[in-house]
Symmetry: C2
Subunit: 394 residues, 2 copies
């Protein structure tokens, strides 16, 4: 039945943008001539400068990847060892791991039903004398309630960190999303709209972090004879920076291409019973990192998991980001804050979300076919259950 | 006076080997075609395989850099939080930072006068109920007393980790140096004989660490629905792996070239009063990572620091690796084990060591000139002090 619609090649949820090889070779030539391969090279510094403008933020420090960036950000904030950091369970595990690896304790807070980000209304009840920070995640590019989070942080003297891995170039009322909180982390992993193969950066408004992060990222070295902090190696090398500089020229076009695919998805799927498409608030620009839908089994006729499995038969590999919740994973499931009753909204969301393929070269034709397949899967399932019911009643 | 001998271009302590750009472009083409830029790609896996043979070890896990590798190794050993790790102060700060960043306590042990590595005779007195591991460093490629260290570890049930950042391809009696201890770390930073721009690996004989390190390096992810450990992102990307594969073809020649320079240095400098050239034991192959000399001010006529400063005037930039000792740095100087009287040998060594330029493209002619400059500096200083003495006696 599905042979006519099935894709010949597997379709995954993303494909990286790639600069032209001749441009890459040109950059490599410059690096080879300088023989300066890493340690705050020219391209590294140029990239930091340019990212400040692109992200509309005051300061940028680039890193070898987003996780090491977040690990370092949490260290820079000098949170007391063993103190608690309130965060969301609906995120990639790296968010929570960075808290734990640094000897801090993650405390899970439920999420808002609409934005799917940490629910500011639920944060206060989790705060105690041992709480040191709030780590919000702009999940799928939907911004946290940044104003509300900040006012809670101010009230209780907490630090605020944002995991903006999905929110490259997102703006709220024309303001870079990386200007909120004390420090924000952006990921430049190959699966991201904008990437440096592996990579990431931190943005922050307070200049006191410029030196602090510089040292922490490079072994705490201040000069040949002074090591002033317990640092690690978080340095982005010149190859990564070169790809990053070239991809700065490409990401806007990629966003355009994704925007077309996204609106085709929306047009096709919004009328389907049981499909909800979370919408970006009108004052927020969409990072085009993901296209996420939510499946309500009752009304859709089949569950998210059933749709996910059926799509595979058509060679379409969607992702259930972020199922399971981080609070369900082995290292965290015993935490008091992981209790299901504490996370009812997030638990519902994780059972409903599905990310569909979204990347420029997918093209609108393939996107249309994916929509048709979804409709076909649904109708087939509905028919079958109708048949079964008939047989039962017969 | 020094204008005739002065180098026109600054001479630094190292310069990276670089594969031909056409070969790099070829590899990039393959990566671009696959669109697989990171996350355990083909080149990543091929490099791990090949390194097992080159390093003569059972298992290899590659990382984005050596520091993240060491940080992960210490996590993999599951040392109790707050426990003590006995290490050497005569090392690059990353060694000690990895202990501290993971919530463990570094305890400094004095070094041997000859090998300059951690002194096994001094380890036992530092062991207490809270000691969990010994972290030795094969500094400048000189192997630690691996047998003695292991017998102490066995006696007290401690883990043994080696920082083999300087010991790529070093063998002891034909056996890969990475086979000693529980886990060894090699660095592939651009300043190393063999490099992947930034990078590193862990080697280990116990197969139980294969999965453990795989998970820790990649967010603890076992599969799409299971996260089994608190991991970070330590993944080497395909660009790094590509450079690594190409440099595997080059490093033996580089070693040859360095060997010629080293023997020229030895011939010229060994007869100078006050210069000691630490010698590799006959059963150990030299990694050719550094050429280190020791300056005894009394007999040489000027101190290591004076020689270092004078060499700069000739555009020769040597390095005082590893001065100051890690125990002297801000984050560690208050530790009980940092007391000078506890580290008398290491303290003497740090005041004497000087690493001279060592890289293949330096060439024997420049190396000869560096030797001549050292002799000239010494004679000039001796003459001047003779003159001064004459004047005093006059």
């Amino acid at each position: 039945m599905y042979d006519n619609f099935r894709f010949k090649q597997p379709i995954y949820v993303t494909k990286p943008i790639l600069p032209a090889l001749k441009d890459v070779n040109q950059k490599l030539k410059a690096i080879w001539q300088s023989k300066w391969l890493t340690n705050h090279g020219n391209m590294h510094n140029e990239l930091e400068q340019k990212l400040q403008a692109v992200l509309k933020v005051r300061n940028v420090s680039v890193f070898n990847n987003g996780t090491i960036a977040l690990l370092t950000a949490l260290k820079a904030l000098e949170l007391p060892v063993g103190s608690e950091v309130i965060t969301t369970p609906l995120t990639f595990p790296a968010t929570v791991h960075c808290i734990s690896w640094n000897g801090l304790q993650p405390v899970f807070c439920d999420t808002e039903p609409e934005s799917m980000t940490i629910d500011p209304e639920r944060i206060e009840e989790l705060i105690n004398a041992n709480t040191s920070a709030i780590l919000g995640v702009h999940v799928y590019g939907f911004p946290c309630g940044v104003e509300k989070v900040q006012s809670i942080a101010d009230k209780f003297d907490l630090k605020v960190i944002y995991d903006a891995a999905h929110a490259f170039s997102t703006e709220i009322n024309g303001k870079g999303i990386g200007t909120y909180g004390d420090i924000s982390m952006f990921s430049f992993h190959a699966t991201k709209l904008y990437h440096t193969v592996e990579g990431g950066c931190l943005s922050y408004k307070d200049d006191q972090y410029i030196d602090k992060l510089y040292y922490l990222r490079n072994f705490g070295i201040k000069n040949e004879e002074q090591v002033v902090d317990i640092g690690i190696n978080g340095k982005m090398n010149e190859l990564q920076a070169a790809i990053g500089l070239l991809n700065l020229e490409l990401f806007e076009q990629e966003k355009q291409n994704r925007r077309m695919i996204k609106s085709l998805y929306v047009q096709n799927l919004r009328e389907l019973d049981g499909v909800t498409i979370p919408r970006m608030p009108p004052n927020v620009t969409d990072s085009m990192q993901y296209f996420v839908i939510r499946i309500d089994k009752e009304n859709f006729g089949l569950s998210r998991d059933e749709l996910y499995e059926d799509l595979k038969k058509y060679n379409v590999f969607t992702r259930k980001y972020f199922y399971p919740l981080c609070s369900e994973y082995e290292p965290y499931k015993a935490l008091a804050s992981s209790a299901t009753e504490n996370l009812t909204v997030a638990n519902r969301i994780q059972s409903e979300v599905l990310c569909l393929p979204l990347y420029g070269t997918l093209g609108t034709e393939s996107a249309q076919r994916i929509c048709d397949i979804i409709k076909l899967i649904r109708e087939t399932r509905l028919c079958l259950s109708l048949e079964r019911e008939k047989l039962r009643n017969f």
